[in-house]
């Protein structure tokens, strides 16, 4: 029912297409890539042609192949961060909201502290100092991304705690863990999905930005890294900057459109 609502909106349909394109690139892109993205397959800085539809970079590697390989890195990081944020956010938000009292106060102080730490600066400093790597990027972004989710979950849980079906369960002596898992979490899911969708888009952008600053994983091609390499050749090779940026924008736009359409379908426009 909800799925139909999402797809009935133009934004939802476009979002699904964009996300499907990215997913397709991540899953089968490397198979269809015309070349090995690390191999020299053309001249230095050759402009787009039939052999190299997105041109080549300064040492003669195919840009299209690199863009196709890059999708995996972006999605891997975004999924990893979302998973970390999901686990932390729900655990902390639900505990705080359900228990209340000083546990709530303590958890919320911690959440606020994490929320004021400037995420971008924190990530830049940690990754620059400890060396780049996908694991570190996922952990740093994950541990700074959960607060918004925790707050939303806590608010929902507090509101739901007062609802009849929850009160009834409590009165019947159901254990707290059971109530949270069986009664609260399923009802939380729509809110969590909307928040997570927005987070997913932000993380894609953050990952690209870190890679643009040279803080991506050097072993994994990513769109931000490609855009960073383009910076030195803006004047002579526009194609180096255009295509990786376009790939990021389409992906993030797709995710955001989908999240918007989903929120609208839930009646939260």
């Amino acid at each position: 029912m909800l799925r139909g609502d999402v797809l009935r909106r133009p934004s939802g349909r476009i979002g699904v297409v964009f996300v499907a394109v990215t997913l397709g690139m991540a899953i089968v892109g490397p198979i269809f890539a015309p070349y090995d993205p690390f191999a020299i397959t053309g001249g230095s800085l050759a402009s787009p042609s039939v052999a190299h539809p997105m041109g080549t970079d300064s040492i003669g590697r195919d840009v299209l192949s690199a863009v196709l390989f890059g999708a995996r890195t972006s999605l891997l990081v975004a999924c990893g961060v979302s998973a970390v944020a999901l686990v932390c956010g729900i655990a902390i938000g639900a505990t705080a909201g359900y228990r209340g009292g000083y546990i709530d106060a303590a958890l919320m102080r911690t959440t606020e502290l994490f929320q004021v730490i400037p995420r971008f600066f924190f990530a830049v400093v940690v990754i620059a100092l400890f060396g780049p790597g996908l694991d570190r990027i996922i952990l740093v972004l994950g541990f700074t991304s959960w607060p918004s989710l925790a707050r939303v979950v806590r608010g929902e849980v507090i509101a739901m705690r007062e609802l009849d079906f929850v009160r009834a369960a409590v009165a019947m002596g159901a254990p707290a863990g059971h109530i949270v898992r069986r009664q609260l979490l399923p009802n939380l899911m729509p809110t969590v999905i909307v928040t997570l969708g927005l987070l997913f888009g932000q993380v894609l952008l953050l990952e690209a930005t870190l890679a643009f600053l040279g803080l991506g994983d050097p072993g994994a091609i990513s769109w931000g890294m490609l855009a960073a390499q383009a910076q030195g050749f803006l004047r002579v090779a526009w194609w180096l900057a255009l295509f990786p940026g376009l790939a990021i924008t389409i992906t993030v736009l797709g995710v955001n459109l989908l999240a918007d359409a989903y929120a609208a379908a839930l009646g939260r426009d």
Partner: protein, 523 residues
């Protein structure tokens, strides 16, 4: 709307007029302070060079000529040097220059804070002393050949003792309002924007034809080029590769190559093997990698034609020592494959080679090796990865910031291969020795990276460093290079050069730190 208003007005704006006798030079970064005697930071040396003098100057072929010292005597077979100083030189603030300034600069600044001078001289130097107001004596424990190459303003600028004595040189406010003896004097320093100098009318070589020099901080190389093309800037210290051809064809621009550079001269981009790793113990593996490297492709695609394929372990810029008759392994992927097979690295599919009976390596291990580099040099790794892939070696480039690179490569020795811009300097003693002798396997950046040990090599360097006779030194350095190629602890990739660009309205530049002292500009 605001955009349109901005844009329209910007088009209508006129260029701000400027004095033709003012030279505007672009520098890439804010030096932060202008005392070159307490740091080896290339940015500080580039920005501050015009303010100071050394005891000697080096011309474009690196021959010493008089500067603050007018004459010198080499005594006791090269273990004592006596410098006679120029009379009547004054600091920019009017105070007289004397031997005390030279002694102070070496004792309290260069030998303490200038890492290069300290590392090369401190262990052999007994003292720097003033015989009288105009004579300075350098006394060494043993004959010390490279001294004459280490006394120009880019290596050993002389600082004013009367402004620095008795104060912490790192925190002295004179560092940002400097006083020197050089062809230009300090006027103003606007952090992150520009530094202004005016001509020193009392300069001992006579005043420059220029009235002023402005150093503009423009971080992006492309923007520097755009500013040169727009006539906003007259001099660039670096020319980015992709812009080189365009500038060479531009009639408003001239290009000039310089032997000297504040960051180090005669640099060779060098691939180093960690000889402690089992897969590099066999010289055939090192030779195979040397054969797999296509050096002309590095010149073409990384340097964009600016530089040359290295054809010997010592840079061609040190003409007396460079050996031009040595057969370094040529590009030959078949030979590389043959060597790897002979060691036991077997090719099974399209992936990396697999060890089958390689000494010290477990059978079945894939030939996958790391490659550490500074972020600015990671492009060498990208190309090397592609070239080695052809012969079945999987190279994984890893960019590391300088602090981490130095600590992991030189202190922890935790690397397989790494690349360094080994600047040979003006004498092999300065920048070549440290790559090969056993005593410089030390936690020091850009020392003996490979961990190469050879008693024969150590003895050759000791004899070459102690000798003052050029033919003998030439012969010894030739032997050193033959031995280095035989043992192949490194692969010498490309010699980088220092290309400068300047506006055709100016002429008379030199390659030294005083690049603008003899220049003149017209409308």
């Amino acid at each position: 709307m605001v955009l349109l208003a901005y844009g329209g007005a910007a088009c209508a704006s006129e260029r701000v007029a400027r004095d033709p006798a003012t030279l505007v030079a672009a520098i890439a970064g804010d030096p932060g302070q202008l005392n070159p005697a307490i740091t080896t930071n290339g940015g500080v040396h580039t920005a501050a060079g015009l303010l100071y003098d050394g005891l000697l100057a080096l011309d474009d072929s690196l021959r010493p000529s008089p500067a603050l010292a007018v004459r010198w005597d080499v005594e006791e077979g090269g273990s004592r040097y006596r410098f006679h100083l120029r009379q009547g030189v004054r600091w920019h603030d009017g105070a007289p220059f004397s031997a005390a300034d030279v002694v102070f600069t070496f004792d309290k600044m260069l030998l303490r804070y200038h890492a290069r001078t300290r590392a090369s001289m401190a262990s052999s130097l007994v003292s720097v002393s003033a015989v009288d107001d105009s004579t300075v004596l350098f006394t060494f424990r043993r004959p010390y050949a490279p001294l004459m190459q280490q006394l120009d303003v880019s290596e050993a600028p002389i600082m004013p003792a009367h402004l620095y004595a008795g104060r912490d040189p790192l925190r002295n406010p004179v560092n940002v309002a400097p006083v020197g003896t050089g062809p230009f004097r300090f006027v103003s320093y606007t952090p992150h924007s520009e530094i202004r100098y005016a001509v020193n009318d009392g300069y001992f070589r006579g005043p420059s034809a220029l009235k002023a020099v402005v150093l503009r901080i423009i971080p992006d190389e492309d923007t520097q080029v755009a500013a040169l093309e727009a006539g906003e800037v007259d001099w660039l210290f670096t020319v980015p590769g992709p812009a080189r051809r365009r500038l060479a064809e531009d009639p408003r621009v001239r290009l000039v190559r310089s032997a000297l550079s504040a960051g180090g001269s005669n640099c060779i981009m060098t691939l180093g093997f960690n000889l402690e790793r089992p897969w590099f113990r066999d010289v055939r593996v090192r030779k195979a990698i040397a054969h797999a490297v296509n050096r002309p492709q590095f010149v073409e695609r990384v340097l964009f034609g600016e530089g040359r394929a290295a054809d010997a372990p010592i840079s061609s810029g040190i003409a007396f020592a460079h050996a031009n008759d040595i057969a370094v392994p040529a590009y030959d992927t078949l030979e590389a494959a043959r060597l790897l097979e002979s060691v036991g690295w077997r090719r099974t599919g399209t992936g990396p080679r697999i060890a089958r009976g390689v000494a010290g390596v477990k059978d079945g291990t894939p030939f996958t090796i790391g490659f550490k580099a500074l972020p600015s040099q990671i492009v060498y790794g990208d190309l090397l990865r592609a070239q080695l892939h052809v012969v079945g070696i999987d190279l994984r480039p890893e960019p590391l910031e300088q602090a981490v690179f130095a600590a992991s490569v030189f202190t922890a020795r935790d690397f397989d291969t790494a690349i360094g811009a080994y600047c040979n300097g003006t004498d092999p003693e300065i920048g070549v020795r440290r790559m090969y002798v056993t005593s410089s396997i030390a936690p020091v950046p850009f020392s003996n990276m490979a961990g190469y040990r050879s008693a024969e090599m150590d003895s050759l360097f000791d004899r070459a460093g102690a000798s003052l006779a050029l033919p003998e030194r030439r012969r010894l350095y030739h032997d050193i290079q033959v031995l280095a190629v035989r043992d192949q602890p490194y692969v010498w990739l490309v010699e980088t050069s220092n290309l400068r660009a300047y506006s055709a309205r100016c002429h008379g530049f030199s390659g030294s730190s005083h690049f603008a002292a003899t220049a003149a500009c017209t409308k």
